[in-house]
């Protein structure tokens, strides 16, 4: 490699590193503000790192707001919703990929059309349905309408198309029931698929905002993002920003941890949603 291209590579790296700092800065600033005493955050001076780090913001917001309830609600909605939704998607993906049956084309086409109709579009009727069942202000109001996950079904179907047919036939010849074929033969080959579906499903639910905002009302019943959004103009705080950043940290931390550990599955999952 010539000297010129080596130098150019270092220039590119330096430029990219500068950009990367810009990309990371908001998250860094969130952490800095969360650990900075409230008064110092309300300053017109430029300070780029905390001078007297403190847990005061966390203490204040955790005692004055039901942050633990928010975390519990988010965790319940995200895990239960993801678990059910992934099972539904796996079953549907399997049926659509590995069986010939009347109505298959129609079902698949009907499912795909809903990609164009996100919950925002059916916001009003979905709310009215949930209200009619009497679920408003409960976690199930958030969970139920988001269980049908067309992207998940699509990814599952694509993956299951690659499961070899002879494998299924062998299992059936050995006398396995349809259920056994699915749980004992097909699912064990689906590890990566399940990983992607779980990560994507959990992230979407943990971060979801508009729908929980519509169906949850009591302060105790909110999810973390909805609770967080109520803090910026909460009269309980004289200077809300330290408290807001503390809750923002708490909201981001679980996903950031999952992302750093499962980076490859994460990226693959996101890339998969793009391939649809």
């Amino acid at each position: 490699m010539t000297k010129r291209t080596t130098r150019r590579r270092w220039w590119i790296t330096a430029a990219l590193a500068g950009l990367a700092v810009l990309m990371i800065f908001p998250l860094y600033w969130m952490a800095v503000s969360a650990f900075t005493p409230g008064g110092q955050a309300q300053s017109r001076d430029l300070r780029l790192w905390p001078t007297d780090p403190t847990m005061e913001n966390f203490r204040e917001v955790f005692t004055s707001q039901p942050v633990w309830s928010w975390l519990g609600n988010s965790l319940f909605i995200s895990t239960v919703g993801t678990a059910i939704s992934v099972m539904v998607s796996l079953g549907a993906g399997y049926a659509l990929a590995k069986f010939q049956f009347r109505g298959r084309g129609l079902i698949y086409a009907a499912f795909l059309v809903t990609i164009m109709m996100p919950i925002q579009v059916t916001l009003v009727p979905s709310f009215l349905i949930v209200a009619r069942i009497g679920l408003v202000d409960t976690p199930w109001a958030v969970i139920l309408p988001t269980l049908f996950d067309v992207v998940g079904i699509f990814i599952a179907r694509q993956f299951m198309l690659g499961v070899p047919d002879p494998l299924l036939e062998a299992a059936r010849l050995d006398g396995a029931s349809e259920r056994q074929t699915f749980t004992k033969v097909v699912l064990p080959t689906c590890g990566p698929l399940i990983g992607v579906l779980v990560i994507l499903g959990f992230m979407t639910r943990w971060n979801d905002f508009l729908w929980p905002l519509v169906v949850l009302q009591g302060n105790e019943n909110l999810t973390v993002p909805v609770g967080l959004s109520t803090l910026t103009n909460n009269p309980a705080f004289t200077s809300p920003w330290g408290a807001v950043m503390a809750v923002a940290c708490v909201a981001v931390l679980p996903l950031l941890a999952v992302f750093l550990v499962f980076q490859r599955q994460f990226v693959q999952g996101i890339a998969n949603t793009g391939i649809k």
Binding site: R9, I12, V88, A95, V267
Partner: protein
């Protein structure tokens, strides 16, 4: 003799058992809501069942609803501002990172991390960074002697700030998708062109860009859909203001339904959004088909 036919019947039933949960959920929470949305859109109502049929009134109201026109114009500005910017930046990063560089995995992770954060988190953090009085952006500008900018309080600047923030969240996504596509382009094409003396720009124009065509199409559609649905960040950062300068269609639907209690009108607006998405997808498909015919 009964066993094989028994087994066959069971096999015919099996796919239905596997697909039925999805079908039931689809009926209950997709199809029925859509049907209700259509019926609601012909009613003047605050709840199901107690509305008066008003025919097309909700749709004719749209024609001279000034706020709706503002919301549509904002949606257009927001979409046109975010989609190409995020895609070009993502493509640039993907091309830059698609070669051996020191620290590449770290860089890639850094560009991707903003995607992980919830829209609301991004919204509050950015609202704090761009805070007029105490935000670090203005503190930095002042330290540099440039004065303070009304990032979120001026009608024109607030839209630009929102666009920049949303682009920030979207770059990593575009980069990942482009990076995947770039890695599937065979290396020898580039080598052959280099041997023939083609410059880097020429190679990009004649090899990389055309081969990225399908990826670009998908990304345009996805990004437009994302932008048309963007709610969290705008809701948290500006709440649609100042005035109505950053009120987009989704925001207006939310407002009509839950602040103004005009469920019928909100449902009709929801259908308008579906129509926009549909028209856009069809146009896009037609354009890419025409492009294929030309080449």
């Amino acid at each position: 003799m009964s066993r094989p036919s028994d087994g066959r019947r069971r096999a015919a039933l099996a796919p239905w058992l596997f697909v039925s949960p999805a079908v039931l959920l689809f009926l209950g929470f997709s199809l029925i809501p859509i049907i209700i949305a259509v019926t609601l859109s012909f009613q003047d109502t605050a709840a199901v069942g107690d509305g008066d049929w008003v025919g097309l009134e909700n749709f004719t109201t749209m024609a001279d609803d000034g706020l709706l026109h503002t919301a549509l114009r904002n949606t257009l500005v927001f979409t046109v501002g975010t989609v190409p910017t995020a895609m070009i930046a993502g493509l640039g990063l993907a091309v830059a990172l698609n070669r051996p560089l020191p620290g590449r995995p770290v860089l890639r992770a850094a560009f991707f991390v903003p995607m992980v954060a919830a829209g609301v988190v991004v919204g509050v953090v950015m609202a704090w960074i761009f805070h007029g009085d105490y935000g670090v952006a203005n503190n930095l500008l002042e330290a540099l002697g440039l004065g303070r900018a009304p990032w979120l309080t001026s009608p024109t600047l607030s839209m630009l700030t929102l666009i920049a923030v949303v682009v920030w969240t979207r770059i990593g996504f575009c980069m990942i998708i482009y990076l995947g596509a770039l890695q599937s382009i065979p290396q020898d094409l580039h080598e052959a062109a280099t041997v023939d003396g083609a410059s880097a720009w020429r190679r990009f124009r004649s090899i990389t860009w055309p081969l990225l065509g399908p990826t670009t199409s998908i990304l345009v559609i996805l990004n437009v859909v994302f932008s048309l649905q963007a709610f969290d960040i705008i809701y948290v950062m500006t709440g649609g203001g100042p005035g109505f300068s950053t009120t987009v269609l989704i925001q207006y639907i939310f407002r009509s339904a839950f602040a103004d209690a005009r469920m019928g009108y909100a449902a009709a607006l929801g259908l308008l959004l579906v129509a926009l998405l549909l028209v856009f997808t069809l146009l896009r498909q037609r354009a890419s088909r025409r492009a294929e015919e030309l080449t």
